[in-house]
């Protein structure tokens, strides 16, 4: 009975949505827009979203509300937006996890490519390779030699399956063709705690979490994962400087609408996103986080779509090579 009501109702909604779509685009937005963050409030992705949402509110003349739908590595929130009405009032701001989900989760209820209409890239947070304060190697070259030599004797902390820190570690071990002992944690907070207490050896995490500790001398930084050195950590070399080529990794964030959203609405949102990213306040706040807004040319549907496709392919390979099974 219930499912019958659902089907009937879904049919009615779909029908009315089609006829209304054309008229809607012109006066969009005429009610508050919701951006779903598929993680808990207070995390880095949530922070990025709230900064962007505040700036977009001003531009669109409607409130942009942030809603946190956490769980299952971000796939619950993403699934909810994939199934939402494509009217431009429910959007998703997700990070790199959008591209790793297909490799990590069997039976995903959505397809990152076909179920979403990309709006644009938002930011790409650099990663840093760090170690406990009293870790032996002095430089990046030393570290690489040390890791190659000691392999599994080194403990490497990560924030669990699919976390940025795990992906970075996988890539690092892949590049050096070695294995370290992975020690998973429930989030980067506890992992950082143990690193500060020298309970474990190494970690790789976003600048958002590591910069203040590095600057205070609490932990050692060996490398950044960007093509060039970053402004807040001018003394930390890039991986390429240490002789590891093609090791580039950033935790990129993208803004999406459900597939089927009217093109005029997407265009409007892309423009609004670009304006928000050019906003001085947003720029300064991002700089505090150790990151920067992407160029206007990357805050476009095409750039995001290209990034997403490339990353899905890359991570499928890295994750399979590491022997991590989809759940």
């Amino acid at each position: 009975m219930k499912s019958f009501v659902k089907i009937l109702a879904a049919g009615l909604v779909a029908g009315s949505a089609l006829t209304a779509a054309v008229a809607v685009a012109q006066d969009y937005p005429n009610q508050p827009v919701t951006i779903v963050v598929p993680f808990a409030a207070g995390g880095p992705t949530d922070t990025v979203t709230r900064l962007v949402a505040a700036a977009m509110s001003e531009d669109l003349g409607q409130q942009v509300v942030v809603q946190n739908v956490g769980g299952a590595g971000g796939t619950l929130g993403a699934g909810q937006v994939a199934a939402a009405n494509p009217d431009g009032y429910t959007l998703l701001l997700h990070h790199i996890g959008m591209s790793t989900a297909p490799a990590l989760y069997a039976s995903l209820p959505f397809d990152p490519i076909t179920d979403f209409a990309p709006i644009g890239l938002v930011t790409e947070v650099p990663m840093t390779i760090v170690a406990r304060r009293d870790f032996e190697p002095a430089t990046l070259e030393d570290l690489i030699a040390y890791v190659k030599k000691n392999g599994e004797d080194i403990t490497y902390a990560n924030a669990g399956i699919g976390a940025a820190s795990q992906l970075c570690g996988l890539l690092f071990m892949d590049a050096l063709d070695t294995k370290m002992t992975e020690v998973p944690y429930q989030g980067t907070g506890p992992a950082m705690t143990d690193l500060l207490g020298s309970q474990i050896d190494m970690m790789c995490d976003q600048t958002t979490n590591t910069t203040s500790q590095i600057l205070a001398g609490e932990i050692k930084a060996y490398a950044v994962t960007t093509p060039e050195r970053i402004a807040v950590l001018p003394d930390v070399p890039t991986m390429a400087e240490g002789g590891v080529e093609n090791f580039e990794l950033g935790i990129w964030h993208g803004l999406y609408a459900p597939a089927g959203t009217d093109q005029a609405i997407i265009d409007k949102l892309t423009q609004s996103l670009q304006k928000a990213l050019a906003d001085e306040m947003v720029g300064n706040s991002f700089a505090e986080l150790g990151t920067y807004p992407v160029q206007a040319s990357d805050a476009t549907p095409a750039a995001l779509a290209q990034k997403l496709e490339g990353q899905i392919a890359l991570w499928a390979e890295v994750i399979a090579a590491a022997g991590v099974e989809a759940q």
Binding site: V5, K6, A9, A10, L12, S16, T34, V65, N85
Partner: protein, 153 residues
């Protein structure tokens, strides 16, 4: 019942055995691992076994010690209506929307007390609906449609 044993101890022991058994058996499907690298099955199998043992011990302790008091009556009306309401709430909050779900849930729960008449239950449910709307939707900004997509035409 003429059995010379504690019904309460038997029942709680049985619940422990059943749940412990479920966890242990289900966890057998997961990787048990080694002490160095304990798998996801390690702790649940061990703890499930412990729970089964405790359940047996609880039941055994009840032998020869019948309960002092007669068991209270089962609140069938309450169980069906209160739990039914919660399940109804979960199943329909997204589809029917805030107002209808809260009205119906309030009415059904109020009716589970034999001290409420139909009229008083109606008053309670309308009052609660207004209160909840003010607190959660207006005050705390809960993002739920007033009337859900199943009822929109």
């Amino acid at each position: 019942m003429a059995v010379n044993a504690s019904r309460n101890d038997f029942a709680s022991g049985a619940i422990f055995v059943a749940l412990g058994g479920y966890f242990a058996l289900e966890a057998m499907k997961y990787d048990f691992g080694t002490p160095f690298r304990m798998g996801p099955g390690f702790m649940p199998v061990v703890l499930g076994g412990v729970l089964v043992a405790l359940g047996v011990a609880v039941a055994a302790k009840g032998i020869g010690k019948p309960d002092a008091e007669a068991p209270p009556a089962w609140p069938w009306r309450g169980i069906v209506l209160v739990l039914g309401t919660i399940l109804f709430f979960a199943a329909t909050i997204r589809g029917l929307g805030f107002i209808p779900v809260v009205l119906i849930s309030g009415l059904a729960t109020a009716l589970s007390s034999s001290r409420n008449s139909l009229l008083s239950s109606l008053v309670i449910s309308v009052g609660l609906c207004v209160l909840c709307m003010l607190i959660f939707v207006v005050g705390l900004g809960l993002l739920v449609p007033w009337v859900g997509p199943w009822l929109r035409f």
